[in-house]
């Protein structure tokens, strides 16, 4: 089956990494599941876990109102990042924006309250020692611009095909950028789904937010079934397209998935690469379910 999944990646013009695990039987399947991969916006999931652990411990107030003045926006194409006027929102609603629409301004506001060291301490506590968050969304954006030598984000894509530029971008380097392994990320999801990442009520809130993510084009595209619940969080950074999530079948079957891809093409819009994430995930789940349904 791993050869079939590799074939699906190849056909879409991407290199892919995958880990899939049946949350109840522990059966698993992987394609290079222990290699280091760049998280991109998937870093918002460890951040979410750290946020709710600190909230449960009483170290921060999830309903505290935060004001975001018009000048304080982080680059990004969704959520509060694109709004023009002052916004007031609770911390947990900002967390919701960061998960459901991958809102970078919301994520960095939450990260500021939680603290980078707390995110990494949480990962260590959960035994995920190869998953590290090395900076905010804003940091990642600044490093990209500096490494590429551009001041306008629109120029990033055109510079990407220049000789040597892609190799210079530390944001794409798992040794420097926020990183993890597919296997560790399915363990993180499993901890959320088994109420082990935080107290049960906080895990339920995390599952709700992940279930409300809006994107239909990656993981969810592989499961075009009305009776299947797909929860997840994408990550997108230039040629990298990722998603981690959990797929739940009406018979109770639950599968954690982590799929990471790097496209050979430098096209900014690459629907086949997006869809390959869903296809690979479906092939993995079919293997785990043994065609049960």
């Amino acid at each position: 089956m791993t050869a079939v999944i590799e074939g699906a990646f190849r056909e879409a013009g991407v290199v892919g990494w995958l880990h899939a695990v049946d949350l109840d039987s522990g059966r698993e399947i992987g394609v290079r599941p222990d290699e280091s991969v760049v998280l991109a916006s998937v870093f918002k999931v460890p951040l979410l876990v750290a946020f709710f652990r600190r909230a449960a411990a009483g170290e921060l107030d999830p309903v505290e109102q935060v004001a975001l003045p018009p000048g304080a926006r982080v680059a990004g194409g969704t959520g509060t990042s694109v709004l023009l006027d002052e916004i007031r929102m609770s911390l947990r609603d900002l967390a919701c924006m960061m998960i459901t629409v991958s809102d970078n301004t919301a994520a960095d506001t939450v990260l500021e309250r939680v603290g980078l060291d707390h995110v990494n301490r949480t990962l260590t506590d959960l035994g995920l020692v190869r998953t590290r968050v090395t900076g905010s969304a804003g940091d990642l954006h600044a490093s990209l611009m500096a490494d590429a030598g551009v001041t306008d984000p629109a120029d990033l894509w055109t510079r990407l095909t220049d000789p040597g530029v892609a190799g210079r971008l530390s944001a794409l380097d798992p040794a420097v950028s926020s990183r993890g392994t597919p296997r560790e990320l399915t363990r993180l999801l499993a901890a959320i789904w088994r109420d082990e990442a935080a107290p049960a009520p906080e895990c339920a809130q995390m599952r709700r937010m992940l279930g409300l993510q809006i994107w239909p084009h990656r993981l969810a595209s592989g499961f075009p079934y009305d009776d299947v619940l797909v929860s997840g969080k994408t990550g997108t950074l230039l040629t990298l397209r990722n998603e981690i999530g959990v797929v739940e079948y009406p018979d109770g079957g639950r599968y954690a998935l982590a799929v990471f891809t790097r496209a050979r093409s430098t096209a900014a819009t690459h629907p086949r690469a997006d869809a390959a994430i869903g296809t690979a995930a479906r092939l993995a789940v079919q293997e785990l379910r043994g065609w049960a349904s």
Partner: protein
């Protein structure tokens, strides 16, 4: 406005036809008055623009008043047009009521019900017998045809109710309880998959599929193939059969398998259930939307649903639907 140039002999003809069809002319008038645009009004009425203009002109002649001011740029109601608009609307509402009453009165003679062509003989008999017990005075006129034909007949008013296969376009219809009948596999006796008492769809991998062309509208076939793919069966080819005997021929020859409800298998074939019933053929009663069914129609729907459950082993379908944000409310 062009001169009509009608000779004297024709005038009596068109007055006669107008008298017969004043309602039709008033319908045109109301639509033009609502649109204030002949092109759009013609489109709404499903007719070409020139005959619509002629009808309005005839109506103006008949009523001896101008209804519209037409300039090259715009159409506006005249004062008398505005006055007549309310009257015309009132009249049309009453005409609708007359038609509805006539339709209801007509229903008492016979109830016209569309049924799928492949419904089992025992089910047809039970349907007729049970309804006769409930309404001995009201004969059932059962009309076997594909669902697509029933949909047209329901829209035309030539059927009172239909037993429909889903999915289909149910706009303008009300539906009774959705019932599901598990599909199994029709195979040649002695073929390797036939050795097992129960099959998984994945066991059929490598086989072709034969489906009934008449009972399988495009949307239903698409759903069936998607469900098959979900469970590991992607047919090498899909053969559309015009007739059950042709289906049987392809199955006997080993060319294709068929996915059909449990039925006595023809000699040389066997029917095997699918593990976990992954495929359901969905069926429901349907009638034109409006008031909740009462009287004979309510009895018919109750009897049909009951007979399909007891005689055709159909059970209510409870499929959970997990709405995704991207296909959620107004998304």
């Amino acid at each position: 406005m062009s001169k009509m140039g009608i000779t004297h002999g024709l005038i009596s003809d068109w007055i006669y036809s107008l008298a017969m069809n004043l309602v039709g002319h008033l319908e045109c008038f109301v639509v033009v008055a609502e649109e204030l645009h002949f092109g759009r009004a013609a489109e709404r009425l499903g007719m070409a623009q020139p005959p619509l203009s002629q009808r309005i002109q005839r109506l103006e002649k008949e009523l001896d008043t101008r209804l519209f001011d037409r300039s090259s740029r715009r159409v506006a109601l005249t004062a008398s047009g505005r006055l007549l608009l309310e009257e015309a609307r009132d009249l049309l509402v009453r005409v609708d009521r007359i038609r509805a009453v006539a339709e209801r009165a007509g229903e008492r003679d016979v109830l016209r019900v569309g049924v799928p062509e492949d419904l089992d003989g025992a089910v047809i008999a039970a349907l007729l017998g049970t309804f006769r017990d409930v309404r001995p005075d009201l004969p059932l006129d059962l009309r076997p045809a594909p669902t697509e034909e029933h949909l047209r007949a329901l829209a035309d008013g030539t059927l009172d109710a239909g037993v429909l296969r889903h999915p289909c376009d149910t706009a303008g219809l009300s539906l009774g309880p959705m019932l599901g009948q598990p599909l199994g596999v029709l195979l040649p006796d002695g073929s390797p998959p036939a050795a097992a008492p129960e099959l998984r769809l994945a066991d059929l991998e490598g086989h072709d599929l034969v489906v009934s062309r008449r009972e399988m509208p495009p949307a239903a076939l698409e759903d069936l193939l998607a469900s098959c793919a979900r469970h590991g069966f992607v047919p090498g080819a899909v053969h559309e059969s015009p007739h059950p005997q042709f289906t049987l021929g392809l199955v006997l020859a080993g060319t294709a398998v068929a996915l059909v409800p449990r039925a006595p298998a023809a000699p040389g074939t066997v029917w095997r259930p699918l593990l976990g019933d992954p495929l359901l053929q969905r069926t429901s009663c349907a009638w034109r939307s409006g008031a909740p069914p009462e009287g004979p129609l309510a009895d018919l729907i109750e009897v049909t649903t009951r007979v399909l459950r007891t005689e055709a082993a159909m059970t209510p379908v409870h499929q959970r639907v997990v709405l995704r944000p991207s296909s959620g409310f107004l998304a």
